[in-house]
Symmetry: C2
Subunit: 221 residues, 2 copies
Amino acid sequence: MKLTKRTELRRAPSKGSHDWKTINPILDQGFLAHVAFCVAGQPFVFPTLYGRDGEKLYLHGSAASRMFVELATSIPACVTVTLVDGLVLARSAFDHSMNYRCVVAFGHAREIADPARKIESLRVISEHLIPGRWADVRGPSEQELKATTVLEFWMEEASSKVRTGPPLDDENDYSLPVWAGVLPLEIRSRPSISDEKLIKGISIPDYVRRYDARLNRGTVH
Amino acid sequence: MKLTKRTELRRAPSKGSHDWKTINPILDQGFLAHVAFCVAGQPFVFPTLYGRDGEKLYLHGSAASRMFVELATSIPACVTVTLVDGLVLARSAFDHSMNYRCVVAFGHAREIADPARKIESLRVISEHLIPGRWADVRGPSEQELKATTVLEFWMEEASSKVRTGPPLDDENDYSLPVWAGVLPLEIRSRPSISDEKLIKGISIPDYVRRYDARLNRGTVH
């Protein structure tokens, strides 16, 4: 990929990478992106779901949403996905840190107009979030498709940053009588809540019951 | 607070609010913000920890970090905090949604130069993330303070969006033989990992053992 000042890893370059082999697993585990764009020098950043197809991310939203109207004009965008893996508690305030994996991608989005490609992109987003769901549900109608904007965001440049492992204290601080270590964090599901209007005899699908496996598929504590 | 086009709730205004009573609990439960800024029309968005003091957020980072160097010049910034509460599985692809709480705040950051105020702001960030920790650890040295930039970000405008509750399907879809409901999600801790270099006789503090209470203190599924 192209590399410019935008993705230069200035801080702690040892934690960083421009390698898709590091970047893609982070994007594949995450499901929430924060998407930034500028309008007349004013930055905006909003959360959105996504799906990945090679070096493209698919984003979808209401055709009326400000973000999708702006992004569809192909202005520069920045998409960031952050996975929080744990709190790193050191003996000094200064050496506290966080274990995390983060991808920052720069590029431009283009609207997908063709209905067949649009449906396929929506399938990719759905399967990214809940593998197995798409086959079970009613697909989008013509009217629903019209009300939805789907964008393909080309990751022209991307970088990842990853921190893992224990706290790193100053040599002098190791003798302090302070607990230090890592508190791992992860996203977990709670028991699903069936809709009250569910018709009888429908059981909870496996992809819902076993969702935690999808959530934390790349986590190493 | 001031309200302009930036925070106008265009999409689903019923989910939105400009009320600090709704905004503050979201900011107080969250701990990771995504901060966006523009440099020559190029948007950047990076994750960072924060603490809240009234209508200000404190941010800290390396004095060498690109984001903190840029933000310290008081360019317009946008800070977004998103809490994911669950997946909303409807009978149609279109009506799938997410239960979430999100705050988007616009404003400018200013550097805190005074060492006493700087330490106090760092304490606020630390206590926001891990209440009780600050009193246990070695405080920042003069040199560590110099290596740290602390910013106060004034939330000149802010809005929240919240979605809760079950899926809302089209009337015709309720008869479909498709499981529908909510899969609640939350951040949870796993058992803490004590540092290998810990001196003997130090037990895990309560604020670490009971961290889940802090993590999900405002969640209603």
